[in-house]
Amino acid sequence: MNIEQTEQEIIEEFEIFNDWMGKYEYLIDMGKSLPMIDEKYKTDDKIIKGCQSRVWMHSELKDGKIIYTADSDAIITKGMVALMIRVLSNHAPDEIINAKLDFVEKIGLTQHLSPTRSNGLVSMIKQMKLDALVYRSQH
C-alpha cells in the first residue's frame, strides 16, 4: 500500500464517525497501538518540541525504508503520531519527502495544525520529513 492509499483508508475510517468525540475516541485507540519507541531513545534530544505535550520520535533505515517509532505523554497526541507513522513509516525516503499528506485536512485535523494548538503536529511532520532527507543524503 502506498502513502496515498493509506491516507485514503484513514479518510474513510474517519468518515464513519459523525462527531468529534467519536473521532477522538478512535484516535485514542490508535494511540494505544502506537509502535512504542525503545526506552533508550526516550531522551531529551529525541523530543519534538511542542508546547503542551512531549513527543519522542526515533527513526531507522531498514532495507531502504524508514521505520518510525514514537511516544508521547498525552494520548491524543500519541494518536496523531500513530496516524502519521501509519502513513509514513515503512516507506522510502523519497516517498516520505514528497508526501502531500492531504488527509490531515480531509479528516478535519487542520485545526490542530494551527500554532496555537501547539500539539506539535506540524513539528512532527517536519521532523519526519527531515529524517527522510537525512537518510536520502546518506545514500
Binding site: W20, M21, Y24, Q52, I75, S118, N119
Partner: protein, 548 residues
C-alpha cells in the same frame, strides 16, 4: 429613655426585614422607622425653648425623607434613583444636625447637658442607621443579579463551538465583552475617530474629552489621587515593562535586590530578570507553601537594605490565591521600599483602592476586565512617576524638541508615546462602568458561589487533584487528573464546547515548584452559571472515561 432602646429594636427588626429581602416590605418598614426617628428628634425640643429654630429644620428634613421612602415602593424597578438619594440626604442631614449641636455648644447657648447628650446619641444612632441602610441599599439596588439578563449582555455567550453551546471557562486568560463595550468601539469609529491631544478641530477636541474622561473613570475606579497618575499602556505586561525599565533606569544599580514571588506570571518575572541582568542586580523570590500561599515570614526576612522594589501579584492566575497585598505593602513601606502590585487577575473580581492600599504601582490589563484588548493601565504614585524617565519616546511625549535637547511633557503624556489606543481606553472605561453597575461586591459573592460549587463537584471525581487551596481564593480552579495528560482533557472538553486552559499558564517556575508539566484551569466570570459547571463536570467525567 425607653425610646432609645426601642431604636435598638428598630435596628434589629430592620435587619430582619433586610434579610427577608422583600423590597416592598423593606421600604414600608424603613418609612415607619424614619417617621419614628423624626418624631424622636422633635421631642427634645418641647423641653427646650430656644433652639427649635435650628433643630427643627433638620428634623423636618428627616421627616420629609421618611415620606420619600414611600415612593420606592411604587417604583421598585428603579430603586437606586429613589432610594439611594434619600439615604445620602439622611447622612447629609445628620451632618447638619451635628453641626447645629456643635454650634449650640460653642456659642454657649443655655443648653441643658442632658439635651445635648440625647441629641448626640440620637445623631449617632441615626448616622449608624443611615450608613447601614446605605450599604444595604447598595446591595439591594444591585441585588437583581439577573444572570439571564447579564448573559444577554454578552453576545458571544450565545454562540456554539463544535456544535455545542459555548461554555467559556477561560476568563483568567481574557474576559468576554458586553454589548456596551462593543457599541462604544463601534461608535468611536463611526462618529468620533480623531487623534487625541493634538488637533484644534472639533472632533479632536471632542474625542480628547472622551478619552480623558475615560482616564478619570479609571482614576475613580482605583481611587487614585490624580488622573495623571493613570497611564494608559498596551496591557499589563507593557505596564510592568514600563516600570521595570524606567524605575530600573533611575533607581536600580549593581548589587540591589528586587523581590518577586514564586507564583508570578512570566510577565512579572522576565522584565525584572532582564533588569537584573542589565544592572547586575539580584532577583529574590518569596517562596510559597503547598496550598499556594506566600510565606510571609520568609518575605519579611528577605527584605533588606538592598531591596529596591517589591513586585507581587494581587491574585495568582493559576492558584487563585488572593495575596495579602495590604500587609505586603505595609511591611515593605516600613523599610521605605516601594511596591508594585500586578492586578491583572484581580481587577475583574475585586476592588483595588490604591490610596487605601498605599501601593506605589498597580497595573492591570483592559481585556481581563471585559474591555478591549491592547489597552492596559499603570497606576503610579505621582512622586515616582515624576522621577522616572520616559520609557518610550516620540510623538505626544514632549513639550519642546530641538536636535540638541528635548523637554518632556508632564504626566501622564510623558509615558504615552505615539497615538494611543484611543477606542481601547474609551472601551475600557465603559467596561468599568458596566462592572460597577453590577457591583464588584456582588460579582465577588456570586463568583465565590461558583468556585465553591465547582470545587465541591471536582473533588468528588476520582483522581482529581486541585492545585491551589488557599483560604482566600478567587474563582479559579486549577487541577490535575491522575494518569491523564492535561492536554488530552483540554482537547476533549473543547470538543464538547467547553473552553478551559491547559498547560503551564505562563508560570513555569510555579509549575517547577509543584513539579508539574501543566494543569487544567477553569476560571469563572460573573456570567457563568452553576448549570455550566455541571455540564463541564459531566464532560470532564466523559473525557476521563475515554482516556482511562
Amino acid at each position: 429613655m425607653t425610646s432609645y432602646s426601642s431604636l435598638g429594636n428598630l435596628k434589629m427588626s430592620c435587619n430582619h426585614v433586610l434579610r427577608a429581602c422583600n423590597l416592598t416590605k423593606l421600604f414600608s418598614h424603613l418609612q415607619k422607622c424614619f417617621i419614628n426617628l423624626a418624631k424622636l428628634f422633635l421631642q427634645p425640643q418641647k423641653c427646650f425653648n430656644k433652639p427649635e429654630k435650628v433643630i427643627l429644620q433638620p428634623c423636618k428634613t428627616v421627616l420629609a425623607l421618611a415620606k420619600g421612602f414611600l415612593q420606592p415602593c411604587k417604583t421598585v424597578f428603579a430603586p437606586e434613583k429613589v432610594f439611594l438619594q434619600p439615604c445620602i440626604a439622611v447622612l447629609q442631614a445628620c451632618k447638619t444636625f451635628f453641626q447645629y449641636n456643635y454650634l449650640l455648644l460653642h456659642k454657649r447657648f443655655p443648653v441643658k447637658p442632658l439635651y445635648l447628650q440625647q441629641n448626640t446619641l440620637l445623631f449617632r444612632i441615626i448616622l449608624n442607621f443611615a450608613v447601614q441602610i446605605m450599604t444595604t441599599a447598595k446591595t439591594i439596588v444591585s441585588k437583581p443579579f439577573d444572570i439571564k439578563k447579564i448573559r444577554e449582555d454578552f453576545p458571544i455567550l450565545s454562540r456554539k463551538v463544535n456544535g455545542k453551546p459555548l461554555i467559556y471557562f477561560d476568563n483568567a486568560a481574557t474576559g468576554q465583552k458586553p454589548q456596551v463595550v462593543i457599541d462604544a468601539i463601534d461608535y468611536y469609529y463611526k462618529y468620533q475617530n480623531s487623534n487625541v491631544h493634538r488637533g484644534v478641530h472639533t472632533m479632536s477636541q471632542e474625542v480628547t474629552v472622551v478619552y480623558e474622561n475615560a482616564r478619570a473613570t479609571i482614576q475613580k475606579h482605583l481611587n487614585a489621587t490624580h488622573a495623571h497618575e493613570i497611564i494608559f499602556t498596551k496591557g499589563a505586561t507593557d505596564a510592568i515593562n514600563l516600570v521595570a525599565h524606567s524605575f530600573g533606569k533611575k533607581f536600580i544599580s549593581k548589587g540591589d535586590e528586587i523581590i518577586i514571588s514564586t507564583m508570578e506570571h512570566h510577565s512579572n518575572i522576565l522584565p525584572w530578570q532582564q533588569l537584573c541582568e542589565e544592572k547586575g542586580a539580584i532577583l529574590i523570590v518569596v517562596p510559597i507553601n503547598d496550598a499556594g500561599e506566600l510565606l510571609m515570614d520568609e518575605y519579611k526576612k528577605l527584605l533588606s537594605d538592598k531591596t529596591k522594589i517589591v513586585a507581587v501579584t494581587h491574585i495568582s492566575n493559576v492558584l487563585g490565591t488572593i495575596n495579602p497585598i495590604k500587609e505586603i505593602i505595609d511591611i515593605a513601606h516600613a523599610k521605605n521600599i516601594p511596591v508594585l502590585i500586578d492586578g491583572a487577575q484581580a481587577v475583574a473580581h475585586t476592588m483595588a483602592d490604591v490610596q487605601k492600599l498605599d501601593c506605589d504601582f498597580y497595573i492591570f490589563s483592559g481585556h481581563k476586565l471585559f474591555g478591549p484588548t491592547g489597552v492596559g493601565v499603570l497606576y503610579g504614585k505621582e512622586k515616582w512617576l515624576n522621577q522616572m524617565p520616559p520609557y518610550q519616546v516620540g510623538g505626544g511625549t514632549i513639550k519642546t524638541v530641538t536636535f540638541e535637547k528635548t523637554e518632556y511633557a508632564d504626566l501622564p503624556l510623558k509615558f504615552e508615546a505615539g497615538t494611543p489606543h484611543i477606542e481601547g481606553g474609551i472601551g475600557l472605561a465603559v467596561a468599568i462602568d458596566y462592572v460597577n453597575e453590577i457591583g464588584l461586591e456582588n460579582i465577588a459573592a456570586y463568583e465565590n458561589e461558583l468556585l465553591v460549587h465547582a470545587t465541591e463537584a471536582l473533588t468528588k471525581i476520582e483522581g482529581v487533584k486541585i492545585i491551589g487551596t488557599s483560604k482566600h481564593k478567587a474563582a479559579v480552579v486549577s487541577f490535575l487528573v491522575e494518569g491523564i495528560h492535561n492536554y488530552d482533557l483540554g482537547v476533549l472538553l473543547d470538543t464538547q464546547g467547553i473552553a478551559v486552559r491547559t498547560g503551564h499558564h505562563c508560570t513555569q517556575p510555579l509549575m517547577q515548584h509543584y513539579n508539574l508539566q501543566g494543569v487544567i484551569r477553569a476560571s469563572f466570570a460573573f456570567y457563568n452559571t452553576k448549570e455550566e459547571i455541571d455540564i463541564f463536570v459531566e464532560g470532564l467525567k466523559r473525557a476521563i472515561k475515554m482516556l482511562k
